[in-house]
């Protein structure tokens, strides 16, 4: 990866993190932990990997992203605003009655959101449907779905995995945000969904490991997914929940609570300092 791209991605990821915190702080509610863990993945997807057009959000031939872990909508909103799908000013109206930025992803009113999600386990199946439709259309468009590690406890995730492999949906790529935490604690303590690699392999998927916070690792992973023919790919993205804000990192308590003014100021300072 060239230095200019790397610099751009770092900057974009930082802006996504700032957007996440701005919205959640203003709303006094929302889910910072899992939003911060996918900031780098979203930066890579929207600035390198995906073919989208902010001027025409519903362009039929665009690549699709389904944020199946829909509670982390603030991160998606931040990257969409950064790309110019809607004004950045909207971010501070997150979760307010007069904004289209719903607490969970909503496709009808938010430019750039490809699927309504928030109830875990449903988005992955919708992504399968989109990938199947692209095949029927003989279109090269690709479909990405970000799935939570806790979310993989839903049986429907494995129903979707079976479907995608059965129909050879090689235009479909799941990104598993393996941050190790859900609401009630560590995923391995609540109800252990691991090992993900062996499970997806058993479902006949192409399994790729990556570091969710290393752009060169993500670049390799997405290239490997694109190169794989005949079956779907999953990128197991090893991530840190709350990444980028020291006091939120790996803390289950930051799954769904908002920072106060002081915490917000510290978080913003840390992210700005990282650049």
């Amino acid at each position: 990866m060239d230095q200019a791209t790397l610099k751009l991605l770092k900057e974009k990821a930082a802006n996504i993190r700032l957007g996440v915190l701005e919205g959640i702080h203003a709303a006094s509610s929302g889910h910072p932990g899992g939003s911060l863990s996918i900031a780098d993945i979203l930066a890579y997807l929207y600035y390198v990997e995906m073919n989208v057009n902010p001027a025409d959000p519903r362009w039929q031939e665009r690549d699709r992203l389904v944020l199946s872990k829909g509670h982390t909508a603030p991160a998606l909103y931040a990257v969409l605003a950064e790309k110019g799908f809607f004004p950045k000013d909207e971010l501070k109206k997150l979760r307010q009655a007069d904004s289209f930025l719903q607490g969970h992803c909503e496709m009808k009113h938010t430019p750039g959101v490809d699927m309504t999600t928030g109830s875990l386990g449903l988005g992955v199946s919708a992504a399968c449907g989109m990938a199947l439709a692209a095949k029927l259309d003989k279109s090269p468009r690709r479909v990405y779905a970000i799935v939570g590690d806790g979310e993989t406890e839903e049986g429907q995730v494995w129903e979707s995995a079976m479907f995608a492999a059965h129909y050879g949906l090689d235009n479909l790529c799941f990104i598993l945000d393996l941050n190790g935490l859900q609401i009630d604690g560590k995923i391995t303590d609540v109800i252990d969904p691991t090992p993900h690699d062996k499970k997806f392999e058993a479902f006949n998927w192409n399994v790729i490991e990556a570091d969710a916070h290393d752009f060169e690792s993500l670049e390799k992973a997405f290239a490997a997914a694109r190169a794989c023919k005949g079956r779907p790919s999953v990128i197991i993205a090893h991530s840190v929940k709350g990444k980028g804000v020291s006091f939120m990192e790996n803390q289950v308590g930051w799954h769904g609570s908002a920072p106060n003014d002081e915490q917000y100021a510290q978080a913003v300072a840390e992210i700005k300092a990282s650049l």
Binding site: S99, Q102, G103, T117, E153, D184, V190, I191
Partner: protein, 314 residues
């Protein structure tokens, strides 16, 4: 006047599980929401009787059915959207059809979920749960009633769907004297011109509406219908006969919930105008709770408007 204390009924649910856990032998299941449904309060005290099922609500409901089929009492909790929505068919076929002794504690019902928005604001659960034969469907109006319902459910044999809220609402009933009875309304205010039948947090809003109406010389009876199924037919018929007009109030779609249950009884027994206050067949949205209550017409002013209209239709 003494300050009215407010508490969310989910809070009372968790406290009641922990309290009655000492006296009764039951287990509690949750689906990665123990902190929010408040079953975490029970988990802390009785970790060996608490089982987290992870984010897998369908599995949890059928597991609960198996536990009940083996002679134990399970409480199974999640948000109403996932307990009644995601797991509807498991509840219907694994619990309802065999009439198993499972207690479903569904929290975060209605639009007072607030900022999480429409995906999490369940406005359909009363309707779908009510259509399962043998399912008792209960929505307490305050913390006192929530606690009483939990103890009642432990001692009752059969499937029960309990609907609790996230938002703090006034505690109006008296803890020492209140006793919950299935299929029994509680009259909170006498009146002769119209009856306001509320459920859940809309009961206190209906009481406010009655005060507004009293200022205009309209005498409104106010009734708490915690037991939505079975509904208190005798009391609903009495309301129709004695006041000649009814307004229902619920934090649910006006289709299929309390308003429908009341209208079913009235039309079959003692026809009179029945107007329904509730969410008017639309999805919820994100926002602060007071703003949403106003926007969706779940207000005393709207109940009073409907009451005037119902009286004019007599």
């Amino acid at each position: 006047m003494a300050d009215i204390i407010k508490q969310a009924t989910r809070e009372a649910y968790g406290n009641a599980l922990a309290e009655f856990g000492e006296k009764y032998d039951f287990v509690v299941l949750d689906a990665d929401l123990a902190a929010a449904t408040k079953t975490g309060t029970f988990k802390k005290k009785f970790p060996e009787r608490f089982f987290d099922c992870g984010i897998a609500e369908g599995n949890m409901m059928s597991v609960a059915a198996g536990i009940a089929a083996s002679g134990r009492i399970p409480f199974a909790s999640s948000f109403a959207m996932f307990a009644a929505g995601r797991a509807f068919e498991q509840v219907r076929n694994s619990i309802g059809y065999p009439h198993l002794n499972v207690k479903i504690g569904a929290t975060h019902a209605g639009i007072t979920v607030g900022e999480d928005g429409a995906t999490h604001q369940c406005l359909e659960d009363l309707a779908v749960m009510r259509t399962i034969p043998g399912m008792a469907v209960i929505q307490p109006m305050d913390s006192v009633e929530a606690r009483a319902v939990v103890e009642w459910a432990i001692n009752y044999y059969g499937p029960v769907y309990m609907r609790f809220g996230r938002f703090a609402c006034p505690i109006l009933l008296d803890r020492d004297s209140y006793k919950f009875e299935l299929g029994r309304n509680v009259r909170l205010r006498e009146g002769t011109d119209v009856t306001l039948i509320g459920t859940g947090l809309m009961v206190s809003v209906a009481l406010d509406a009655a005060k507004l109406l009293a200022g205009e010389g309209i005498s409104a009876r106010v009734v708490n219908a915690a037991s939505i199924k079975p509904i208190d037919e005798a009391d609903v018929i009495a309301a129709a006969a004695e006041t000649g007009a009814i307004v229902t109030a619920e934090e649910h779609n006006i289709i299929g919930g309390l308003g429908s249950a009341v209208a079913e009884v009235v039309t079959a027994n003692r026809p009179c105008p029945v107007l329904r206050v509730g969410v008017e067949d639309r999805f919820g949205k994100s926002g602060k709770v007071p703003v949403l209550l106003e926007e969706f017409g779940l207000t005393a002013a709207n109940i009073a408007d409907k009451a005037r209209k119902a009286i004019s239709m007599k």
